[in-house]
Symmetry: C2
Subunit: 408 residues, 2 copies
């Protein structure tokens, strides 16, 4: 594991286990398939990708990505519905610039991805949070807030949410789109975990996937058989985007390939894409990452991306089970819904202020992220986010054990 502070964002010393991180494991970063893809790209000729690129992203790359998504999402995806970004944070930042101005209101989930809150703060926005439950964002609560506010956009992580792990039901997805069209706001759906489900595909193909799997505390052990890795969860917002001008689905190669590539895509209606492409930033700099696109292109068409995702799903699935077992054994007071995909456990320990707990965690050479970080209004104080993607199975067990010592 390379932990050099000169290179990577998250610093971790070898005797420390930070279960709060949201990074992929260094050992799972696919340098070999990228080396091969890079060789192929240079052999074929990379010259055109060294020029200012087309604003929407290289057309051939978009066709290859659309073919890959058509196979993965089991529904025809059109290359013209894709915009190549430098990752979902960058796309969120761009959409925020284009759809809001300082003082405007945006809606987020409670809890939500804490760094999205930072991006909204940079733009001077008022942030209103909508509670989520086992079926994702609460549509009734949303409707209530819409009586009081006119948001410019709603930021949601509909599938295997960061941090809660919850997945929005199909019924609520449809309701959300209806409300967005009625009240004219943009749904910015951060779908970066969509391609990382660890459940049985049949688990996801119903309206309320979570109903079967709601497990709290020790009960969650009843359901953890995810042998079939071919399935994908519910229809993503990406697939609704074809028919609605109120959706931008953000996705990224960060979780399925490598974050350092800074490459992702937006799937949206032509009207939304037209607005994105009108950005001065794109007119000036051209496409957001032509050179890296040319390399990743080879890896998409060779089938290596698909193989990499399969490897990640097997590995993360196994780590998820290990963390689940470890928490049950060593943190009996922990309450959580077993995640069906993504990177995170969202654990509640009643009566425990996790911000205070974190101050002591370092003594035990362990860390996590305190719940309040993920709240737009200082809530979630009894929660913590634990990641099962970054560490090996042994380290996960060791980390949970240290956490149990810290708590007791």
């Amino acid at each position: 594991m390379n932990t050099n502070k000169n290179i990577v964002q998250t610093i971790c010393s070898t005797d420390f286990i930070d279960l709060g991180m949201g990074n992929p494991d260094f050992n799972l970063l696919p340098d070999e398939i990228l080396r091969l893809a890079s060789e192929k790209a240079f052999t074929k000729g990379i010259n055109a990708s060294l020029q200012y690129g087309r604003e929407q992203g290289n057309g051939y790359f978009r066709v290859a990505l659309a073919d890959f998504l058509t196979g993965s999402l089991d529904k025809k995806v059109d290359a013209d519905s894709l915009f190549i970004s430098t990752g979902s944070s960058s796309a969120l930042n761009l959409l925020t610039t284009l759809y809001t101005k300082a003082g405007d209101t945006v809606f987020v989930e409670e809890p939500t991805y804490f760094l999205a809150l930072r991006i909204f703060a940079d733009h001077g926005l008022r942030v209103i949070s909508i509670p989520i439950d086992e079926e994702g964002l609460n549509a009734d609560a949303l409707e209530d807030e819409l009586k009081k506010y006119q948001p410019k956009l709603l930021y949601t992580i509909p599938t295997f949410q960061n941090p809660s792990g919850h997945t929005l039901s199909l019924e609520r997805r449809e309701k959300l789109i209806e409300l967005a069209e009625k009240h004219d706001f943009l749904i910015v759906a951060d779908e970066v975990y969509h391609l990382l489900p660890y459940g049985n595909p049949t688990d996801f193909k119903e309206n309320s996937p979570s109903k079967k799997h709601i497990q709290e505390g020790r009960k969650s052990h009843q359901k953890n058989s995810f042998e079939n890795l071919s399935g994908l969860p519910l229809k993503p917002f990406a697939l609704f985007a074809k028919d609605s001008t109120q959706i931008a689905s953000l996705n990224s190669f960060s979780k399925i390939l490598a974050p350092g590539l800074r490459l992702g895509w937006v799937q949206a209606h032509p009207k939304v894409l037209k607005k994105i492409m009108s950005a001065g930033l794109l007119d000036s700099g051209g496409g957001m990452n032509p050179f890296t696109s040319a390399i990743v292109h080879e890896l998409v068409t060779s089938g290596d991306l698909e193989k990499n995702i399969a490897l990640l799903r097997r590995t993360y699935h196994s780590r998820l089970n290990v963390m689940d077992k470890a928490i049950k054994e060593m943190l009996p007071s922990a309450e959580y819904t077993l995640p069906q995909g993504g990177f995170f456990f969202w654990v509640r320990i009643r009566g425990q202020n996790t911000t205070e707990l974190r101050q002591h965690a370092k003594e035990f050479k362990v860390d996590f992220r305190q719940g309040v970080l993920f709240s737009a209004n200082q809530g979630m104080t009894e929660y913590m986010r634990l990641c099962f993607a970054f560490y090996s199975e042994d380290e996960i067990i060791e980390g949970v054990e240290r956490l149990s010592h810290c708590i007791s």
Copy 2:
């Protein structure tokens, strides 16, 4: 020349000469040295650069870049004063997000780079333009406007300005910093042409470099000997940044290597860098382009970057002379200052509305950019921007000849 509309931003058919483009020549894009650099990076191990990168950019890459700049700028550059960006447009966009909010005022030069105006429009800013002359931005006019407005930032292209080609004198650079400190605005200096001077170094090492070289119309032929390619122009704002918290110097690999890499840097005081690093975008996505940085790193340390710049300077210098000669011969009514670096001629044709002229240009299979594009207040109607970087010498001559037919 690859002209595929699926890949590149600027489409050009083979029998058309668009002298308005601001792109480097396809034939000068350094695919071979990038292939070598890429191989080296993978051989050494690219794993750490596939992870979320450090916000400021890979520390080893910054050290290599600082060494290169120390050699080029003839003054010690500290790696800690550098932030790795995805190009100057992206850095400008980021600084605009962090330093302004909708309704704020920013200052630009008249004329200025037209796509910067588009970025400011996306942020809902009021744009006030300050005239420039042969010595760059007019400091007296700036002082007058500062009595009326409190700008959050001033956007300047101090060296070989796009479009005018003018270079700000040392005296005015110092005055500008004094005013920025007094009135508390940020000087955003877009210095992407700084490393592409084609003049004798002694020409640049005086306070008012332009005085010797002001040539209008046919007279400009008197001065065009740029044999010595070792020299660099005046002290860039980058080198003032060490001592002033009011400067962000933007630079890029787009003009000295390849735009498709989407890689650049900001040189600034620690206080400014701290503000940049506080951006939610960086906290979320990490460093802006770790993978590409790892590859370009190899090319900086091998000396290939320096060789590439020397090649570009020789080639562009020669093209500049060819365009100068062609304009004198075929457009005798053209008035311009002979550029000492950069990409552009800024040509005035008295009595000619260049917006109207451009409507006829396509019939003659030639194009340019009309002056009004570069004006924040609909001025510059008799000017046109011509680029000598994109086309070969023969094409430049042919393009100017077509333009002369169009005008007459």
